[in-house]
């Protein structure tokens, strides 16, 4: 069964979810950093898995897709 994706605001994403950004980048969200680089309107998704550590900043009100299968 194919994955389905639901559009939400970045600030609505929770740790444990998988998101796809507008650029097509897919991030397994291990944790979320608020006020990225001291900017209160920014957050960063952090993927911290055995395979990859990756940080993707976003504006809090940006649209992202959350995977639900």
């Amino acid at each position: 069964m194919a994955d389905t994706w639901k559009t939400v605001k970045a600030e609505q994403v929770k740790a444990g979810e998988t998101v796809r950004t507008q650029s097509g980048s897919v991030v397994i969200v291990s944790r979320i950093e608020t006020s990225f680089m001291g900017m209160p309107n920014m957050l960063a998704f952090i993927e911290d898995t055995p395979d990859r550590w990756f940080k993707q900043p976003m504006t809090a009100d940006a649209d992202v897709e959350v995977r639900s299968s």
């Binding site: 980048s25 680089m37 911290d48 990859r52 550590w53 940080k55 993707q56 900043p57």
Partner: protein, 162 residues
């Protein structure tokens, strides 16, 4: 383990001799070519040219873990650095600086707290670690601290061997 004992390759894939940096002050910086902070290369090269003769070097370490902003090949990174910013300081291979695959050099470096007392993960591209000539990590500067910031230059001058 000394910071000089972690094997790392140069950008061209040949072994990089970290031990050759013993006796020098070193500013280790995780770099990226497509970041809003990438123009910091200009200031880093200025530091290199100003203080190289007094026993100092910048060491650039490319990393693609922050927004995927260092996606290129070694050749692409080398060409970008030399043609866009005239970089003369050494640049290593691309490595991980955070996470379970963090390079050993950065295991040592990230144990150093910043000015607010916070150690651990690197925040973003262009975080800077100042190493004294005897291999001690003496200062940690977060990415938005510019290479010509008074606090950075002052700390650098305080550890120069000459």
């Amino acid at each position: 383990m000394s910071i000089y004992e972690h094997p790392i390759a140069a950008l061209d894939g040949e072994p990089f001799d970290l031990e050759a940096l013993q006796g020098k002050a070193v500013l280790v910086v995780n770099v990226a070519s497509k970041c809003g902070l990438t123009p910091q290369y200009t200031g880093l090269e200025e530091l290199q040219r100003t203080y190289e003769s007094r026993g100092f070097t910048v060491l650039g370490v490319p990393c693609n873990q922050f927004g995927g902003q260092e996606p290129g090949s070694a050749d692409e990174i080398a060409t970008f650095c030399s043609s866009t910013y005239g970089v003369t300081f050494p640049i290593t291979e691309k490595v991980d600086v955070n996470g379970q695959r963090r390079h050993g050099l950065f295991t040592e470096l990230t144990a150093k707290p910043d000015a607010k007392g916070e150690a651990g993960d690197i925040q973003w591209n262009f975080e800077k670690f100042l190493i004294s000539p005897d291999g001690e990590v003496v200062e940690r500067f977060r990415p938005t601290v510019a290479p010509d910031a008074e606090e950075l230059v002052g700390a650098l001058e305080a550890v120069l061997p000459q």
